[in-house]
């Protein structure tokens, strides 16, 4: 194995170690009771509220109570693991573990989290509709298909961001000598 590939392997491992360490730290923050009660539950209730409004705009008669969305014949409770936060943590840990400038990391985090939440909103609405009109398909759509789609979307967003980051890092930046002199 060449020195370059050993070096590449080492960098890959360092990324993975940073990624796992960040994921563990973020998990303990998000799972702690004060953060869960003050941030995660109200955030999830916000998702339920927006989903309820969109469902009503689409003609479904949905009522929202806290993190629950109900109609006369079907109801769902948006729990941890279904609010897009877990994919956000995955995405955030990968972005922060990847070598990049802080300004680009913060921009990536903001846009990525927003994109994940938009897809997750679509997921909640679709699952409610499936539960209401095609209940036999609800379990497999909920556990296998939609969860995989949202997480895969998060991973692809990270790869897209990392590709762009690598391109920007590879582009030549002006050195002191190249800058036009004043005066």
């Amino acid at each position: 194995m060449s020195e370059a590939s050993v070096d590449a392997r080492r960098r890959s491992l360092r990324f993975l170690l940073r990624f796992v360490a960040l994921l563990i730290v973020f998990y303990f923050i998000v799972a702690s009771r004060p953060v869960n009660d003050a941030v995660i539950v109200p955030f999830t209730a916000g998702i339920a509220s927006v989903s309820g409004k969109l469902l009503n705009a689409l003609g479904e008669k949905a009522e929202v109570s806290g993190t629950e969305i109900r109609s006369s014949s079907f109801g769902v409770n948006i729990e941890n693991g279904c609010n897009g936060v877990e994919t956000g943590l995955l995405f955030g840990s990968a972005v922060l573990a990847f070598p990049a400038r802080w300004s680009r990391r913060l921009l990536g985090l903001l846009l990525g989290f927003l994109a994940i939440q938009v897809l997750n909103l679509f997921r909640v609405i679709t699952l409610f509709w499936i539960g209401l009109h095609r209940p036999a398909l609800f379990n497999s759509s909920h556990t296998v298909i939609w969860q995989s789609v949202v997480v895969l979307f998060g991973v692809l967003l990270f790869l897209l961001w990392a590709s762009r980051e690598r391109r920007l890092s590879a582009a030549p930046s002006p050195t002191v000598r190249d800058r036009p002199r004043k005066g």
Partner: protein
């Protein structure tokens, strides 16, 4: 033309080997659909294998060895020889543990040549590690049920630290571990060395002293 402009003009617009391209995303989508079809076809058989592995691992640390795990209809039935006869047996959801196989397969499908022998060998190695992760995750879930869901029996047999350890371990897998595992395995096994070699940290800008 300034030296900066000249250098920008000669620089390639994109790196030769991006982490993600449109074609790679299409391959990922195809891999995802194939993996879902495969998962629906074989998940019941797969559940039997990791339930057996997890049962054996749990019994290894038990004295007397009483835990029995049986995969049945998408559930893993948790049985103990010392449960009262005729009492209900807890059923644990199998898909919640192992649906992440679909993610692993979709990520491996991103490769420009996903069907070449070396790549498939790496995929099989990653899938074997994922199987081990499923075995350990199910063992955590079993102990989490023992430690927190059996009332007075749980309190008598599991201390506070043990209860938190097993419950937090299972919760970690459920919330982030099952999503992170396929990504980490793909990152480690699935990417070619030339891809990894391009990920150098950004060079720090050095000021020239005059």
């Amino acid at each position: 033309m300034t030296p900066v402009e000249r250098r920008r003009e000669t620089a390639p617009a994109r790196p030769a080997n991006p982490l993600l391209s449109g074609r790679a995303a299409l391959r990922g989508l195809a891999g995802f659909l194939l993996a879902i079809a495969f998962w629906f076809g074989f998940s019941r058989a797969y559940e039997k294998t990791f339930a057996a592995g997890s049962g054996a691992m749990t019994r290894l640390f038990e004295s007397p060895d009483v835990t029995r795990l049986e995969a049945k209809g998408g559930e893993i039935l948790l049985d103990r020889r010392d449960f009262p006869p005729g009492s209900a047996r807890p059923g644990l959801s199998g898909p919640d543990i192992h649906f992440n196989f679909v993610l692993l397969a979709a990520l491996f499908a991103l490769d420009p040549r996903p069907l070449r022998g070396a790549h498939i060998a790496r995929f099989l190695a990653a899938a074997a590690v994922l199987w081990l992760i499923h075995v350990v995750a199910l063992a955590f879930q079993v102990h989490s049920v023992y430690a927190t869901s059996l009332g007075a029996w749980s309190l008598a047999n599991y201390g506070r630290v043990a209860r938190n350890f097993w419950a937090a371990g299972w919760h970690f897998y459920l919330i982030v571990g099952r999503f992170a595992a396929p990504f980490a395995l793909w990152w480690f096994f699935g990417r070619r060395e030339e891809e990894a070699a391009l990920e150098k940290p950004p060079a720090r800008r050095r000021r020239k002293r005059i």
